[in-house]
Symmetry: D2
Subunit: 295 residues, 4 copies
């Protein structure tokens, strides 16, 4: 069992650290708001007062933060991850950030003699808790082999993709379909419903059809009743769509369904649904279809 | 085993009739081009010289034609299906047509003392041949129970949906997601590929992710090599999208992803891909992304 | 002054007939609802009991109806326009219908030895009343020259376009920009307003910019106060968009901005705005932006 | 005549400085590449070796740079604009940047006791050379009155909009319609052309219709022959569209026509049209319509 550092102990990061603790790893952790990490300290996690201090205490450091800005926040500066890195150390960022930003950090990590992997996860809090999370990893292959077991303690399916930045790229390329599929599903449900078919029957038929991806089987029923807790909310979903659209402009790839869906995620936030699961796209469509009040 | 009539013995209809013959039913069939039905006659199918003659020879008549215009063609006129119907007879149309058109025919059928079901299928030639076709049926419940066994000889999954027109409505509401999911999938593949990930790896990752619907698992690999035979071509796919969009206007349901995808199906036809499987949307996107010649 | 027939005396048709009467023409008219034509009869218009009777009484017959279905209604059957036509007569349809439908009627007109022009108008009731209407005409050139003066009595700008069907085609190709420009204008106004600029100032700047088409200069101010009377309502606008989209599929022309705008016209009808001027797209966008109630 | 500084002497900035020189102003200028400013030095412009040196030599300094990043480049650092500002000085940035970035610089300017205006221009090189440029200005009203005459020497129409950032916001809100109107116009032209109307006739009809904004009247004819020089190229147009889309997400304003048009600007760059006037959207649409080779 290795000495593992963890920076960013929020909803996802905290649960990941807990799984590592449960697997017997020695964990040193840091979070901007210490209070949110109390439960982990009670389970034996060591506390460090800065990202740098985490890195200095560990061979392998993992991080899980909100976005590109947050990644820059924890890696730069005198107390950042980079300041603590040196030869032999490995840094694994599991956040979903832009491939360019990830590669920039990876280059800075290399400059300090260390190695970095981008290793975003596919799945939500529930998938994580069920021990079914998928992890894609990219970067130095040898570094990957060294941390593979640690990653497997978080989620069983760990796949090596390629050079730095390609795991987050693949994550973004996957996630754009989440929102698009959900919106197309909603279009079908609403068409059926306005055409006279009771919504539960329409959902049932669609969930048993060839369009029922695992995501649709899980999230489709939310059009019958919105979930109490959002595992992937509109704000997070739109963050990923924006990464895809920015990449599309950068790489000259037109993204027709992604861009139209992104506009309805904007509508979702405008209607006050920003913190709800993105399945609320169905309610947005109902509003546009004159079936509910917008505000 | 019942006396069953079958009007419309094309690629799908012919294979359906063959399954009924194989199940031991006595089949009387009609097709506009008799030559295409020779193989069925050789297997024992009786030939009738008009849709009306089919209906007069059978208790239950099934039909499978291209579109709403074709449905009107086989049902109307002195030699049409309607002219042959009378009390006790059941007519089952398995075509994908507009719900309004289907309901109109159903009303005319009722006027003649007979009953009609709309019973479109979900799946393609291959699904049919594997004996895995799904059938949704709508109309008179009692009539449905009487023909259920016949339909089950065609495809094992037979679901009753509701009043006349609702099965074709549900089919249309399902099918719009086929093209949208394929286009979103293509956007992801192309983003990954232009970002440096080999296409086969990108496809592999996506096919193992939560967005992999049965349709995507089947059709996704076509972006690595276009199939020799199209089981659901661009023209047929756009016919269904147009039905969805017309319904959307009629029922006041905005269909954002459906309409944007429909435009790219138009592009597909403009580029000469009209008879290819609609997975060719990937090639359309590549063209728009400047990666292949348009003509 | 010629003997002129007029079929379809609604909001537009009636005012056109009135202009012809004022110009000294002898007018024989027909309208499905006679009551709506009383004011014209009081001004000297002769009444005919059917489209056929109109055509029989006149050398040149004009018509102005709602859509393709209505055109078929007045032209076909024993009491229709076609039944009354014969050598030497000219029929001018001023409705906005599909080019294919217009060409079909033109062919039937030719079969009876007469000639037809399609001559849709550009502009609304107010443009008409100000005597500023533009008319595009297509069909037989000689027939055009014979009716030119009659058309000029309706609107001063009369342009010959080409063979049958091309005037309605050009009308459709023009009108799609009306709704698209209005929606793009609304996006700009709303962006400015939510960014802190008072709406009247934003409108003022836009109306003085290079994007201010005559249509925008006329209709843009409606975002500051909806007009009491709709001169071109959502339903009519969407009829023209649907003609464009159907043509786009027929001719394999992708129409990206037309299709996205069409969906918001559907939303407008869904929100109960079907009979308002299509400038109400601004209110639809405000609804989608969470700024007003949808129902 | 005031002592005026000018930072950024590219295609637009250089011509602006030339107009100020011609109007009798004493100009001190700076450009990253000095060679591009030789012609201005020959006309009497004084050269300064840094943005800071420009500001120190002048009462009022104008700047015109490419984007937000370039604005940060010339304003920050020990040699930047900010370092040279002090009480009494006025800084006018005429670039099109994000309102937020403009307001940030304005705040930094205020911290140094000086005042800033954002004053983007509407129009291109040709409009400038014809002396017809429009300028919108925002920021401190009194500072605006002090520089009004200087701005009027550049373009005659100078409008005060409101607080800092609102002029660039208004510019962005206007410019999104440029590309959308051009694309909708192209859809109409292509529909007419594929329907059999010669392209020049279609363009002529459209340029004489109610959709002919000044921009369309100027740029529409480019579909008959692409201009040798691009006054507003695809790259610059998409920069403004991206600013609009980013603002839309920030302010929760869905932008349906803007987003769909943005995707076709991406396609334009992918097809190698990045440096052509954005009227090339017509060629992009022709490619999508299978009418020309993509690469």
């Amino acid at each position: 069992m290795a000495d593992v550092g963890f920076v960013g102990l929020g909803v996802m990061g905290g649960r990941m650290a807990a799984r590592l603790l449960a697997a017997g790893h020695v964990i040193t952790g840091y979070n901007r708001t210490k209070a949110k990490a109390t439960w982990l300290i009670e389970r034996g996690m060591r506390w460090a007062h800065s990202p740098r201090a985490v890195v200095e205490a560990a061979e392998v450091t993992l991080s899980m933060v909100t976005d590109t800005t947050a990644l820059r926040g924890i890696t730069g500066g005198p107390d950042g991850v980079l300041a603590g890195l040196g030869p032999g150390k490995i840094y694994v960022d599991m956040s979903t950030v832009s491939p360019a930003a990830s590669r920039q950090v990876a280059a800075a990590v290399r400059d300090r003699g260390a190695r970095m992997l981008d290793a975003p996860v596919s799945g939500s809090v529930s998938t994580l808790e069920e021990g079914k999370l998928s992890i894609m990893a990219a970067g130095d292959r040898d570094a990957f082999e060294r941390v593979r077991q640690i990653l497997e303690a978080i989620g069983p399916k760990v796949t090596y993709v390629g050079p730095n930045g390609q795991a987050v790229l693949m994550k973004i390329a996957t996630n754009l379909s989440l929102a698009v599929q959900m919106l197309a599903f909603s279009e079908g449900v609403l068409l059926a419903e306005k055409g006279g078919i009771p919504r539960p029957i329409a959902v049932d038929v669609l969930l048993n059809s060839v369009i029922a991806s695992p995501m649709i089987r899980y999230r489709g029923p939310f059009v019958l009743g919105r979930p109490e807790e959002a595992w992937f909310d509109v704000g997070m979903m739109q963050k990923d769509m924006t990464l895809a659209l920015d990449l599309g402009r950068e790489l000259s790839v037109p993204l027709p369904t992604t861009s139209v869906t992104d506009q309805l995620l904007t509508a979702a936030r405008a209607m006050g649904f920003g913190s709800e699961d993105f399945a609320v796209l169905f309610e947005v469509l109902r509003t546009v279809a004159g079936m509910r009040e917008a505000v």
